[in-house]
Symmetry: C2
Subunit: 267 residues, 2 copies
């Protein structure tokens, strides 16, 4: 199956590398708005063939959209007039409901679009961060709807398995709600801790607990502004619940209530 | 220098292992209230000689107190009548001001006590978690006061260097304030996230950001109840400041204010 990857950052280029690594003998074509990323992906062997415009990506058996989320609606609109009915499309955005809405709004064959999300990120970004084994053993959520074409689902699952990940079917709303807790809230915490520390620098260097708590604050704040905005209700709800717990700990500390504190630390 | 380690958990047994590893030819004696821990530390080579009561630990050139914090005041009182003026004492509790207060209150020669804190922990505990290289290259804060004996400081720094750590002198109050942000707050966050998740289990497994954010929630909640209570003012203050930041993010999300969100994620 010939695939075309649009967006050759850490995830897009890793998909290319992993697919090449699977040695299926299929061509991988790729496009990135940034010529350096496209050249880099070509040189590292993530793609066989660079395409010189988004328009040219429409002619493919499968299109994998791996751009930042903000680029997706316009990209769908550009591809729309050129898509063939049999082309399967998928994406890797870590919020699924908005992408499904864009697919319904802009794509001529939304039932051939299968929303996807590999649970394998890294705080590093750009094609330089790509790894052929990034998806090995990782869950890769897909969020088909009742209207999604069964053959399109099968082909996306085939791609996912080919690059050694494990396809997991899930309702898009449930995915977005769960992932807000599992990833979006930890990112908010990491960014907040680093900002707090920048305001109050310490002489002491943080040990392992600080490194772990702040690792993902090295992620791109621009991308995370987009992602959080796309999943803002669920993230705001979880933050609310977390703030309530932290406030309870803070109050137990102020009162010196060790019993209450002990209860709050246990789960 | 013959050392006696009281408390043979992950840190105490690691000090023994690291000191043996340095091959200074000095005997390491050890005591733990739990006979299994003492036997385990002996078998793994962390100590040469087990002592059968806390009282017998008083006769030493250097005593390293590596018990949980709650055991320290009573231990100081038990050792007090038997201590020799030349014995140097140190500890490894990650809150320094209370330990200094206990030393002043209970020890006959508080100027021979040097508060210490190796910035090298692990969420694993017990002597089984001990590692000879745990302190290699790690900072090891000591908090001498203006009254502390210079010779006692020099001997503690010698021990720290012998086990490959880097001694860092620091004011106890500053240490406690900074470490509350760098470690106590991350522990509160990890415990809270895990508790929130236990209340709202997900079908999806967390990826790297969740693993990092919750790793230290595997720490002993009993120990952390003690530590947080001992450093409650500083921790409560930092939690307050963090809650304010999280609330701002939560409100920016509710309003859909991406500009404000972007500012909050940057530092």
């Amino acid at each position: 199956m010939q695939i075309t990857i649009i967006g050759l950052g850490g995830i897009g280029a890793s998909i290319g590398l992993a697919y090449q690594h699977a040695e299926l003998g299929d061509r991988v074509r790729g496009y990135d708005i940034n010529p350096d990323a496209m050249q880099g992906a070509l040189e590292m062997g993530a793609i066989d063939e660079p395409l010189d415009s988004a328009d040219k990506c429409a002619d493919a058996e499968m299109i994998v959209v791996a751009t930042p989320p903000r680029a997706v609606p316009e990209l769908f609109q550009r591809l729309a007039p050129r898509l063939r009915p049999e082309t399967v499309m998928t994406d890797v955005v870590s919020v699924k409901q908005p992408v499904l809405e864009w697919a319904r709004a802009y794509l001529p064959y939304p039932n051939r679009f299968v929303g996807g999300h590999p649970i394998a990120g890294t705080e590093r970004h750009g094609y330089q961060a790509a790894r052929a084994d990034l998806f090995q053993g990782a869950s890769w959520v897909i969020t088909p709807t009742p209207d999604t074409d069964a053959n399109a689902i099968a082909r996306v699952e085939h791609l996912i398995r080919a690059i050694r990940a494990i396809p997991v079917r899930m309702d898009a709303a449930q995915h977005d709600r769960e992932f807000a807790l599992l990833s979006f809230v930890p990112h908010c915490l990491a960014f907040s801790l680093v900002a707090l520390h920048a305001e109050h620098p310490t002489q002491l260097q943080g040990g392992g607990s600080w490194q772990s708590a702040t690792r993902v604050a090295q992620s791109d704040p621009e991308l995370w502004t987009e992602l959080l905005t796309l999943n803002r209700e669920a993230t705001a709800d979880w933050l609310d619940a977390l703030i309530e717990r932290l406030r309870a700990i803070q109050q137990a500390l102020q009162k010196g209530d060790s019993e209450q504190l002990r209860r709050l630390l246990q789960s």
